[in-house]
Amino acid sequence: MTTNPMVPDPWRVQRVRRDTADTFTMELESADGKHPLPFSPGQFNMLYLFGVGEVPISISGDPAKPGTLVHTTREVGTVTRAMRKLKPSDCLGVRGPFGVGWPVVEARGADVVIVAGGIGLAPLRPALYQLLAARNYYGKVVLLYGTRTPADILFRKELQNWHSRFDLEVHVTVDRAMGTWRGNVGVVTTLIPRAPFDPHSTVAMVCGPEVMMRFTVQELEKRGVAVENIYLSMERNMKCAAGFCGHCQYGPTFICKDGPVFRYDRLQPLMTVREV
């Protein structure tokens, strides 16, 4: 955690890499190059672009390499558009890491199924790194990833590497495809019925648009995965990130402090309430 959770520490841009037409990954190092920022998979940082604004962005890097902060995000507004234009050695403010992450350690002994939709793969990547680093502790590990088109596939090279591993099952699908794509076509939920995991001993980690997560949960439940073994990462408008301001209040919880990762049985009563 940064020294004072409300005061950003300066970090420098090492590299900005475009992943797809509208997403990019930033690699940052602390301004003096000496202060690693340990984090848990699923946590997020508040990134402050001085003079422009501050945004919450989940960490997409390897938890075993806390010296480099990696964030993958989509250009969707003023701050992220300006971030895309950052150059190596430019300075950013970082507060964090915040929130509750994925239950990677708690899932030991079980099969793990990761279901990611669109840029939802970014906050799940650290979990996958950690799972693979301790691969012997888990049963089957399955990644189901769905996105809009083949051009929107994130971390393409890494997905190919993961796909070639014998201890990881990777299935990618796109909603729409033309031309040379020979992979799966269809929404990510269609991959769940035939995915190779034991539903009675599985922990599911799900991240993506909320509608996609609702339908994913339905499919997981149909397969027999218990609701208390399903975890979702939620998104709301986060400002202070420490549970003070109430911007991200979701029923009795604050997404920033109690989440963003929640066990589904905690969310279940809230997810169908439109006013929340």
């Binding site: 997020f44 604004g53 945004v55 919450p56 962005i57 989940s58 993958t72 995000t73 989509r74 969707v76 507004g77 003023t78 701050v79 992220t80 929130g99 939709g117 669109g118 840029i119 939802g120 970014a122 906050p123 996105t147 809009r148 929107d152 699908t173 909603d175 729409r176 495809a177 033309m178 031309g179 794509w181 020979r182 992979g183 799966n184 076509v185 269809g186 929404v187 939920t189 269609t190 019925p193 035939r194 991240c207 993506g208 648009p209 909320e210 509608v211 996609m212 339908f215 990462s233 939620m234 998104e235 408008n237 986060m238 963003p260």
Partner: protein, 161 residues
Amino acid sequence: MEIETLKTLLAEHPFVSGLDNRYIDLMVGCATNVRFQAGEYIFREGGNADQFYLLRHGRAAIEIYAAERGSITLMTVGQGEMVGWSWLFPPYRWLFDARALELTRAIALDGKCLRRKCEEDHELGFDLIKRIVQVLEQRLQATRLQLLNLYDVRPQPAEAR
């Protein structure tokens, strides 16, 4: 011997999972084992829909052809799934193309033969229709989600702006 093997293959397929043994026996009489090479058409739009397929291995694409865009893949199906329901409804013509994306093995069921058996035994017919409707429901659900263009709506959970 061959029929026994086919019966075992049929009984193992998720589409008929839990189906009464006597109905599996009835279905075997309408079934044949088939395989398609990668790129080979399983059926083509406008052709006679006289069969449907239970995929045992491999993957297939359901496609539609548009002159200005070529073949457009609507969805892909794989092992354990069912392909084709036009054999159930007049005029029994395929509405789309189905093409094997890789070596695909399947059990082909003769639609005409099965329709006759379903007419003779409504219990079999009802059970079979329930299974097909379940597949249709899943496909409809998936199509609705596809139409929503989900990934355009919101970016990532921790990313707000």
